[in-house]
């Protein structure tokens, strides 16, 4: 396998100035509910999130990336598919806030017709990520990998901050999910070759509940 392009590594880097650090992927409300207290709990939580919300995000990102490679036209229909897979209003707001931030960072970094087509909108994060991946020279498989990977690492680093967990132990736990992340990304990229209507829509009822509880919480460190 050839090396990964540095441009794509930028998109997976937690230092990307796209506001990702403000979101915990549901880890903060899970901590507040007592469902995540240590590294073992965190691993259980992240594995479930990866196979549900993570898979859906990766598939949408791959589809957006494939769409970006064609003639630059509207992403509205794909964004509507993201809405239909995100019943929680709090999760839709978080996805659009992150999408807007990522789009801003991507447009400041790369020029691409797909980024122009999204200009002035607040797309769902995976839609923005797919377009940004195309702009950075990547393909749908890259977009799916970055979406699946950053979904896990974002939650993991949030847990380190919230619970004061040992960063080395958390890193080992994330590494233990690497094969799962790759499998989810591969499934997502495969699904993105089919019609948008049939993209994965795996739900996680507890994540949805947490997202709404968190939106109504008085005291919180993360936006979502």
């Amino acid at each position: 396998m050839a090396g990964t392009d540095a441009a794509l590594l930028l998109l997976a880097d937690s230092r990307l100035p796209a506001g990702g650090h403000a979101h915990s992927g549901g880890v903060e409300p899970a901590v507040a509910a007592g469902a995540v207290t240590d590294v073992a709990d965190l691993t259980v939580f992240l594995r479930g999130r990866l196979a549900t919300a993570g898979l859906v995000a990766a598939a949408l990102a791959a589809a957006a990336c494939a769409h970006a490679a064609g003639p630059a036209d509207a992403f509205d229909a794909l964004d509507a598919e993201a809405d239909a897979r995100t019943p929680s209003p709090a999760q839709r707001r978080a996805a659009r806030a992150q999408g807007r931030s990522l789009l801003r960072a991507a447009r400041a970094t790369w020029a691409h017709p797909a980024l122009d087509a999204l200009a002035g909108t607040a797309p769902h994060h995976p839609v923005a990520l797919g377009a940004a991946t195309a702009a950075a020279g990547g393909g749908p498989g890259d977009a799916a990998s970055i979406a699946a990977f950053t979904g896990v690492t974002g939650g993991a680093s949030a847990a380190v901050r919230l619970l004061g967990l040992d960063p080395l132990a958390v890193n080992r736990a994330v590494a233990g999910l690497a094969a799962d992340i790759d499998a989810v990304a591969a499934r997502a990229a495969d699904a993105a070759r089919g019609p948008w209507a049939e993209l994965p829509a795996a739900s996680a009822p507890v994540l949805d509940l947490y997202a709404e509880l968190h939106a109504g919480a008085d005291l919180r460190l993360f936006e979502s």
Binding site: G26, F45, P87
Partner: protein, 248 residues
């Protein structure tokens, strides 16, 4: 390989000139039987117990201005068999029409491998109530594999695409997905005059969608608690927040 049943049943409801609903098609097929009563059309018989290898389909059509309620006589038990079992429900609802689909729960018995699929097309101005309750195994047994996929469009746009995959206990048992719930369910309400603010309670979310609909999801330790939670949430989602009860 043993072949299972492949029944194809259908119900069509149309409004006559006076606005009364007539059942203009009521097709039973082998083990998948439909029976009309005064209030609803009931799914009866083996339709309620998909065995591995079975592939059952039900087509529902509700014409403009017509009303149709679907119920079932008993809990459906998804059972193991030589191959995965499938049920597919397709429904269309015309403008001003209303479909109320609320069969009894499905129990995913140990060893089952079931795929449940529902595809609903709502015309602009149509309304829908769609109840889906799943029990994870009979008493004190682990569930088999069960995948449900629910796709709903309204006026040609996607309103909800929702899957629940019980395949890997490390996933569905995760604290992000179902945690230790033994029952999970949802009610989709689509149409006018629904709640526009989300609401949560223990094991319960009321989630207003982008399109004209509200998705209620609930998890619970058992089927009775699940039904209470869904019923409470439905009261709220219909815009009657002061009537929500406190036993969730």
């Amino acid at each position: 390989m043993t072949r299972g049943y492949t029944p194809r049943a259908a119900v069509t409801a149309e409004a006559d000139a006076a606005g009364r609903t007539r059942l203009t098609r009521l097709r039973s097929d082998g083990p998948l039987a439909v029976r009309a009563t005064a209030d609803a059309v009931y799914l009866v018989g083996a339709a309620a117990s998909p065995l591995g290898g079975d592939d059952a389909a039900l087509d529902l059509a509700v014409g403009p201005g017509a009303r149709l309620a679907i119920r079932s006589a008993a809990t459906a038990l998804a059972l193991p068999g030589p191959a995965p079992s499938r049920t597919t429900v397709r429904a269309t609802v015309g403008a001003g029409g209303r479909l109320d689909y609320a069969p009894e729960p499905t129990v995913a018995a140990r060893g089952c491998h079931h795929h449940a699929k529902a595809l609903v097309d709502l015309a602009e101005g149509a309304s829908l109530r769609w109840v889906d309750e799943l029990i994870l195994g009979r008493h004190a047994e682990p569930p088999g594999r069960h995948t449900s996929r629910f796709d709903v469009t309204y006026a040609g746009r996607p309103l909800l695409r929702h899957e629940l995959v019980l395949d890997d206990p490390a996933v569905y048992g995760s604290t992000a997905v179902l945690a230790d719930a033994r029952a999970v369910g949802s009610v989709l309400l689509a149409g006018p005059d629904l709640a526009t603010d989300p609401f949560t309670a223990e094991g319960l979310s009321v989630l207003p969608l982008v399109g004209p609909g509200v998705l209620i999801t609930a998890t619970a330790p058992d089927s009775a608690a699940l039904r209470r939670r869904l019923a409470d949430a439905e009261t709220y989602a219909r815009g009657l927040p002061e009537t929500i009860s406190h036993h969730t």
